[in-house]
């Protein structure tokens, strides 16, 4: 395993080092605001100690990035594949335009999580947030799975305002007793039934394996499922084509 001290190193130098390293597993220490770590990287296993900068794992492909702390903004921007695991909180716009791969956040995420997420055939991205999330979750979502567990926020809705605005594909699961009250008419909400829960068991297992907790306890709580309302779609919002 390669080990590098990022202290006082410019992000460009660090990222070149990571790309050129002959080892597939790299541990980076003293990370502080270094941008674009692992962006566009293929086939690396990157462990980050400290606070990575914006656009962590942007355009990521087949990499496994683990952050032992918080992450900043635009994590996993337009990522293609791979996994980003954050043992802390995450800033704004996580998973922006994600096409595939997985982002798992132990804590909470900021505004605009999962906006413009998309999917194509077997490429279905996953964004999982253990705690709460800010406004504009899944704005313009076109595909993919978003799961908000609301751990530690059991007494209120763990999702901010304007959730699912412009959503026209994909699915959002929220573990809560209090579903968002300001959903647009283009989004349907219903309580998740057993088959819905069964369909996300795999991801709940993945989450608890990484961060601890009992998957059955989580799955036994109430979940709400948000999907685009097919009887009231956006297709004629601007022009009739």
């Amino acid at each position: 395993m390669d080990r590098i001290n990022a202290d006082k190193m410019h992000f460009k130098t660090l990222n070149e080092y990571i790309r050129r390293s002959p080892d597939s597993e790299i541990t980076v220490e003293n990370v502080i605001g270094h941008r674009f770590i692992g962006s566009g990287c293929i086939g690396k296993d990157i462990h980050i100690h400290g606070i990575p900068g914006n656009a962590l794992g942007a355009y990521l492909t087949q990499c496994d990035i683990t952050v032992y702390g918080n992450a900043q903004d635009a994590t996993g921007d337009a990522m293609n594949d791979g996994t980003i695991t954050i043992h802390g909180n995450c800033g704004d716009a996580v998973g922006y335009g994600m096409r595939d791969g997985r982002i798992l956040i132990k804590g909470s995420a900021g505004y605009r999580a999962g906006i413009h997420m998309k999917q194509f055939e077997d490429k279905i991205p996953l964004l999982m947030i253990g705690g709460e999330v800010g406004d504009f979750l899944a704005e313009y979502q076109a595909g993919g799975r978003i799961i908000v567990l609301g751990i530690g926020a059991e007494d209120h809705c763990p999702v901010g305002e304007f959730c699912g605005t412009g959503m026209h594909g994909g699915v959002i699961y929220i573990r809560t007793e209090y579903p968002p009250q300001d959903l647009p008419v283009q989004v349907s909400v219903k309580e998740a039934d057993d088959s819905d829960k069964e369909s996300i068991r795999e991801y709940i297992d993945l989450f608890t394996k990484k961060f601890g907790g009992d998957p059955d306890v989580l799955l036994n709580s109430k979940f709400y499922k948000l999907t685009p309302n097919t009887s009231n779609p956006y297709k004629q919002l601007y022009v009739n084509n």
């Binding site: 992000f11 502080i32 605001g33 941008r35 400290g50 606070i51 900068g53 914006n54 918080n70 900043q72 903004d73 909180n89 800033g91 704004d92 900021g110 505004y111 800010g134 406004d135 504009f136 901010g160 305002e161 300001d182």
Partner: protein, 370 residues
């Protein structure tokens, strides 16, 4: 010089700030270190700092920091100062020559007391008199710009990266209970010395990351009350809005947040269902002061005597985090700028859009610093 509307440069910016609530004086090198970790948010076209509690030996006098284009302008301005103020002390602001900061104007500092007879004949209160004098110099004397005019505080700004600006102004020789900083990536105006942040009037200073879509509406409103937006860059108007609403209209900082980052009407209706009185107040503020609603993305830190305040636009289109450790509260565009100077700070959180974070000196701090 090309001004707003005549030239456009695309955008970024970084802000950082902190306060010691106990009033411990923190060396300026700390804020320089903090902002330096967001180097790539700026492009070298502006950096600046505001320090509070940095002039304890002159704390009862107004400290004017002035840029001059030439010695002739300086002489002309000093005549104006002599007519309106008793000048207690004047000197060039000490700088450190470094290769990355060039083409500096003449940079002078004056500690002044307004002349009591002049105040009496102007029929203004002292602060209003001083503010009027500052606006007059900036507006009427071409080539002179008062960029700092508060008591026991000072603004230091230049064209360059913020960490270089900190070196240039020798900020390691100042200690203050609160500091704010800005790294600039100009959006709409050229990078020039007067256009760097913070923008300041009396003891109010603003650092801003973002772009005000409502700039001209705000400017037209505030200029009705004697302010002049001479720098034609958007952030300047925020400083005057705070001065007018806080100093002159005596609104609380929380209420000011409800004016400039007013909740949506739908949100106000929602609040009205549980708290009709609060909704009525919010409705009143939005209606009466609609010209001061700031639209567009922004995160700002206001510095003022005894405190700092952070605020995001209501949609939170710019990043901002807050952290706490012991008696200190830190605010920055990115968490790394806080961790750089406080690696083990706990409780890092992001305020919501439009949610003001106001942190003031506590009783002990006020005793020590004010």
């Amino acid at each position: 010089m090309l001004l707003e509307g005549q030239v456009r440069i695309p955008a970024g910016c970084a802000i950082s700030g902190f306060i010691s609530r106990d009033g411990n004086r923190i060396n300026g090198s700390e804020i320089v270190k903090s902002i330096s970790y967001m180097h790539d948010r700026s492009n070298g076209l502006g950096g600046g700092f505001a320090g509070y509690g940095i002039y304890p030996e002159y704390k009862d006098h107004y400290a004017f920091h002035i840029f001059y284009d030439s010695n002739e302008v300086r002489e002309q301005t000093e005549k104006f100062l002599d007519r309106h103020f008793d000048v207690i002390n004047l000197s060039r602001i000490p700088i450190r020559r470094i290769p990355s900061i060039t083409n500096e104007p003449l940079i002078w500092r004056y500690f002044v007391d307004p002349r009591p007879t002049k105040i009496a004949s102007s029929q203004l209160d002292e602060k209003e008199y001083v503010a009027k004098c500052v606006i007059r110099i900036n507006n009427d004397i071409k080539g002179a710009y008062v960029f700092s005019s508060g008591k026991n505080m000072g603004v230091f700004k230049a064209v360059g990266y913020p960490e270089d600006v900190g070196q240039f102004y020798r900020l390691d020789e100042y200690d203050g209970y609160a500091w704010t900083a800005h790294g600039r990536y100009p959006t709409n105006t050229p990078g020039w010395w007067g256009g760097a942040h913070p923008f300041s009037l009396l003891d109010y200073s603003i650092v801003h990351n973002g772009e005000i879509s409502s700039y001209d509406a705000n400017r037209r409103f505030i200029e009705m009350f004697g302010y002049k937006c001479t720098l034609l860059t958007d952030t300047e108007v925020i400083t005057y809005i705070f001065d007018w609403l806080h100093r002159k209209q005596q609104l609380s900082l929380e209420d000011i947040a409800s004016v400039i980052a007013a909740p949506f009407w739908t949100k106000i209706d929602e609040i009205g269902r549980t708290d009709p009185e609060q909704a009525e107040k919010l409705r009143y503020l939005r209606n009466a002061l609609s010209g001061l609603l700031i639209t567009g993305p922004f995160s700002i830190i206001l510095g003022y005597t005894g405190g700092i305040m952070a605020l995001n636009d209501r949609l939170k289109l710019r990043s901002m985090v807050v952290a706490e450790k012991d008696d200190r509260v830190y605010i920055a565009s990115e968490e790394c700028a806080i961790r750089a100077i406080c690696p083990d700070c706990g409780n890092v959180w992001s305020p919501k859009g439009g949610e003001p974070v106001v942190v003031t000196l506590n009783e002990e701090g006020r005793k020590r610093c004010l």
